[in-house]
């Protein structure tokens, strides 16, 4: 991925900064410039998520895309954040430990690497909330 394309999303990727619509009070992650509920009537502002949520569904990836192939098998899940929106992220845990409904908490981790000499992408993963 081109460096600017990754770099411009760093607040969202590193610190879970999304958006909140002041008209309907709904929160969105990743950030949106238009509120899907209020559309032009929406008033968007930045919103930092707490990083606490629950596993909606999950899989264990055995055959991964480039950049992720050295991490297999890894757990990938859809997480519902306490503030409402869902996001896709890896869960750092034993694949036997993961279950639907598990409480999880965000952590800052290495996400992918573009080959042995390439750029390392950092961002958010989750871990079981202890």
């Amino acid at each position: 991925m081109a460096v600017p394309r990754f770099w411009r999303n760093i607040p969202a990727r590193y610190n879970l900064i999304g958006t909140k619509c002041l008209t309907c009070e709904k929160c969105y992650f990743p950030p949106r410039t238009t509120c899907p509920a209020c559309r032009r009537a929406g008033k968007i502002e930045m919103h930092k998520f707490e990083g606490i949520g629950e596993v909606v569904t999950y899989t264990v990836i055995h055959s991964a895309s480039e950049g992720f192939d050295r991490q297999t098998p890894y757990v990938l899940a859809i997480i519902r954040l306490d503030e409402g929106p869902c996001m896709t992220a890896q869960i750092v845990c034993d694949p036997n430990e993961i279950e639907i409904g598990m409480k999880v908490q965000s952590i800052f981790r290495k996400i992918a690497e573009e080959g042995p000499d390439g750029v390392i992408c950092y961002g958010t993963k989750f871990a079981p909330k202890r």
């Binding site: 992720f68 896709t88 996400i111």
Partner: protein, 389 residues
């Protein structure tokens, strides 16, 4: 709006065709459709071509011009447009072709679809397919395409008690149907045990739950219904064409186990055609993964939500069942050249309705449905075809 008919169909063999190029396969499908329709090049008003990602698969854009050129239509300056909606590109091309004829703007239109997927390695193909998902917020977080469908499967199993065996039964049925389809990529039977012991791709999905990487092309010729009989004794009428969208990311859906785009497109199509799901004699649905067919038969209204697994186990969707699903072998066994799939579904349905499907013929079929999905359900296209005008 005018009624529209399909007056000719054509399809290449599906498979890994190392000796054939993108242009070779598209021309073969197009010419056989024109021959089937007894249409001359001079009569063609426009081409609509479904193609997901020639840019990534063969480093080629500007597909409309390329196809018009190699089909021998460049000297006639026939308008040609390429449509992209990931794996629903073919369905969208058919839909746009139908609308163009229905509107009265064009008379004879070729709607085709083509994908040449084996000119890149497996890694390249996986990466191209991943662009049907949200690159920034799914793929870059570690998602793969099978991984997203695996998360649908996991939740479906959790909510409705769908079993691992029931997923396997979809693959077993579709492989059995494909043994009777000479164009299919895989023509051997498989067993439930073979599916259950094949290698894990994204738990709970295994390699035999997944549709393959395929080269292939298909085409249909469309005409206004009132002149269709001039070209063929057995026109098949397009009773409805409906498309719907949803969020590109799976995680933003109202319900992870329901493809709302399918639900909306199907409802619209049933309404336009004034029929009910129970009136459908056969369906070609989007089984890119086994769970895809289970969700499809629920979301198309063939069975109540959550009953897709037991219905498959009970044989409802078998070739001799109440609603035969994927008589061609589906994406799973006939193959899935992504941009061609939506058109191939229409080709199969036309052959079935004409009674020309050979050993896999669904007896007495009069009304068929095709269901084509882009990504994990960001796009869905439903067509209803009938031999009755």
């Amino acid at each position: 709006m005018r009624e529209v008919a399909i007056i000719g169909v054509g399809c290449t063999n599906f498979g890994e065709m190392w000796n054939r190029s993108f242009r070779d396969i598209f021309v073969e499908a197009g010419l056989s459709a024109l021959e089937d329709a007894s249409v001359e090049g001079e009569e063609i008003d426009a081409l609509f071509v479904g193609n997901m990602s020639a840019g990534k698969f063969i480093d080629q854009e500007h597909i409309g011009s390329l196809i018009a050129d190699y089909a021998g239509l460049a000297s006639l300056h026939v308008p040609a447009v390429r449509l992209g909606a990931a794996c629903a590109s073919g369905g969208v091309a058919l839909s746009q072709g139908v609308l163009a004829v229905a509107s009265g703007y064009y008379d004879i239109v070729v709607a085709g679809g083509a994908e040449k997927m084996t000119d890149v390695g497996t890694g390249g193909a996986i990466d191209a397919l991943a662009s049907a998902a949200d690159r920034e917020w799914e793929v870059l977080m570690g998602a793969t395409f099978p991984g997203l469908y695996a998360m649908i499967a996991r939740l479906h199993m959790h909510k409705y008690g769908t079993t691992r065996e029931q997923l396997a039964m979809v693959a077993v049925k579709n492989h059995l149907n494909a043994t009777m389809n000479p164009k299919a990529q895989y023509r051997g039977e498989i067993s439930i045990d073979e599916v259950m012991s094949s290698s894990l791709v994204a738990d709970p999905l295994r390699i035999l739950d997944c549709s393959p990487i395929t080269d292939g092309a298909a085409a249909v010729v469309l005409a206004p219904a009132e002149i269709a009989k001039k070209y063929t004794e057995s026109p098949v009428y397009v009773k409805a064409s409906a498309q719907a969208t949803d969020t590109i990311s799976l995680h933003d859906r109202r319900d992870i186990t329901t493809l709302d785009a399918t639900v909306y497109a199907a409802k619209k199509a049933y309404k336009i055609a004034s029929i009910r799901p129970i009136d459908i004699d056969l369906a070609e649905v989007h089984d890119c993964f086994t769970i895809g067919e289970i969700c499809a038969i629920e979301d198309l209204g063939f069975v109540p939500k959550g009953n897709g697994g037991p219905a498959t186990e009970d044989g409802l969707t078998a070739l001799d069942g109440k609603i035969p699903v994927n008589p061609s072998g589906g994406l799973k066994a006939c193959g899935h050249p992504v941009g061609a799939t939506g058109i191939k579904q229409a080709v199969e349905t036309v052959l079935q309705l004409r009674g020309e499907a050979g050993k896999r013929q669904v007896s007495g079929a009069e009304v068929g449905l095709t269901h084509n999905v882009g990504g994990t359900g960001g796009t869905a296209v439903v067509h209803i075809l009938s031999i009755n005008r």
